[in-house]
Amino acid sequence: MAVVRLQNISKSFDRQMVINNLCLDIVKGEFLTLLGPSGCGKTTVLRLIAGLETCDSGTILINGRDQTRMPACDRDVNTVFQSYALFPHMNVFDNIAFGLKLKKIAGTRIRDRVKEALELVKLEGLETRPIHQLSGGQQQRVAIARAIVNRPLILLLDEPLSALDYKLRKQMRLDLRHLHRKLGITFVFVTHDQEEALTLSDRVVVMHNGCIQQTGTPKDIYETPVNLFVADFVGESNIFDAQVTRTLDKDMEIQIQGITKMVQNRRNFTKGQTVKILLRPEDMTVERTRHQCPPGFLPGQVKEMIYKGTTVDLLIRLDSGHDIFATEFFNEDDQDIFYDVNERVCVSWIKGWEVTLPHE
């Protein structure tokens, strides 16, 4: 059953449409991520669920009940804010106990639950610390503790990791997953960081211009993007225009960058149709050559080689003038993945690894 159901939600600020007729079901207990560039409306969706904004039209059902007009303080939803928004005039304990005290829970019970929440975020013993004496990472954890101590139905997280440094961010990602599994609460997470979205979520919702572009598992989103926006925003892709010259059975022959190549035909494209071919850099095969490229390979020249430790990224300029990225992995069979700048190469990919989209 959907714990949150957004039905035809629209929201404008200053006559600027921010959310456009959005529908979304959030499943109980899942880790859902709203992913998109800044200004795509993802934070507004979160604030609508929290009750910090009211929508212009549409309904919001929480746990099956219409709560479209219910004020934030009466919703069984808590938020971890991007800026943490910890109360500067209270210490760690009072910050975390804030929600419980408002619910008039007995003092001893409050103490126990705050202690438990601090253990969950690994900040045992910091109860009396003033907020300004905490590091950024610790403040983050207090913000999470302050929300989960109330045992909400849904925990909303608004880009909570964006202010942390890389190492801490990676640690917090693991901790968040762990916390999600332990608590069993529905997490709705907002981010513009695709890596965060892919590593954390059960389901990812990609948003753009106030509309949902694609909803699916991280694997779906990455491997079978439904449109160019998703393909481009999630991960890197090389995008080519191509033309279908022949269809046969489940395959089709395309004309791409001056060569012909067989690819899979998953969407019943017909002869003469223009399509987009999307290829991830890690799916490209690169071969050295002194002569002509074999059939099905695109000739080009290495323009830039970027060493990244576990991989080598190549910027290759095809003879057609098109620049592409290819990622080569170090492995046992092929130790020699270092290329010289201006070295001639042939580029291809294994049939079926491409994503084919209709021309938009």
Binding site: P71, D74, V77, T79, F81, A85, F87, P88, L102
Partner: protein, 284 residues
């Protein structure tokens, strides 16, 4: 000494000299005179004495002081009650409208407050504007006596001192992080609870500053009780003025001034102590 240092020295020196000449010296003179004997001819004379300070302890004067404290306290509370909501709405008004609203608070300062007090007299007197409107519209049949009442004194004091309450409150409220308000709502606080647990404690420095800035001048504003209260209510300010201008008892007036000064220093001291502690707990 290079040119810049020379300028710095000059600028500081001018300021110091100004304050020394027109604040420190007269102040010390007041302190000095308070220890001298009253003299009808030359206002004060030798030998030194403590008699004026002993006189101050007299219940009659204690009552004057108590009166003043009550008036100042009430004025401060009224200013807080009126100024706080105003400062809140001012700080939440759209950014483009705030300068205009702030100007409307500040513009009255451009006129002498004595003149503004006379303007209040014209409004409040028996055949004044307010009574004319009330009688003209048939709400009352006889003029309501407003001038020379306590109400008039409070109207005058609050009117004159309200901006001193609004401005420091506006300063803290405008800086306040609204995300804290949202966080409190998110955690289940209703409007009143948000105000009591978050907004009020965070605006405490502004409240303290505003109260000090209203309370202290209210003690000394002698012409408002004089003009609007009909000199019926004796406040510390009036009392000191009378000692100098009416009864020509300069040493006694000086002693009362010194006493008032010490009282204010004491309150400012408490304020700084409190605000220091508050800041240590709050900011980085």
């Amino acid at each position: 000494m290079n040119e810049r240092q020379g300028f710095k020295f000059f600028a500081v020196f001018i300021n110091m000299a100004w304050f020394a000449l027109f604040v420190l010296v007269p102040g010390l003179m007041v302190v000095g005179i308070s220890f001298l004997t009253r003299d009808m001819g030359s206002f004060f004379a030798w030998p030194p004495t403590l008699v004026h300070y002993k006189e101050l302890v007299d219940p009659v004067y204690a009552k004057v002081l108590g009166n003043s404290l009550v008036y100042s306290l009430n004025t401060t509370l009224l200013c807080l009650g009126i100024g706080y909501p105003f400062a809140w709405f001012l700080s939440r008004a759209p950014a483009y409208r705030r300068p205009l609203l702030l100007m409307m608070v500040i513009i009255p300062f451009w006129t002498s407050s004595l003149i503004r007090t006379y303007a209040l007299v014209i409004l409040l007197k028996a055949n004044g504007i307010i009574n004319a409107v009330l009688m003209g519209s048939g709400i009352v049949s006889e003029p309501v006596s407003m001038l020379y009442t306590d109400v008039a004194v409070y109207v005058g004091l609050v009117y004159s001192l309200l901006p001193f309450m609004i401005l420091p409150l506006y300063a803290v409220l405008e800086k306040m992080d609204l995300r804290l308000v949202e966080a409190a709502r998110d955690l289940g606080a209703n409007g009143l609870q948000v105000f009591v647990h978050v907004v009020l404690p965070l605006s405490l420095p502004g409240i303290m500053a505003g109260c000090i800035m209203v309370f202290l001048p209210a003690m000394g504003l002698f012409y408002i009780p004089d003009l609007l209260g009909g000199a019926k209510t004796m406040l510390v300010g009036n009392f000191i003025k009378n000692q100098f201008l009416t009864t020509s008892n300069w040493p006694f007036g000086s002693a009362a001034s010194v006493f008032l000064l010490l009282l204010m220093v004491l309150m400012l001291g408490i304020y700084f102590l409190l605000s220091n502690r508050f800041n240590r707990n709050q900011t980085l």
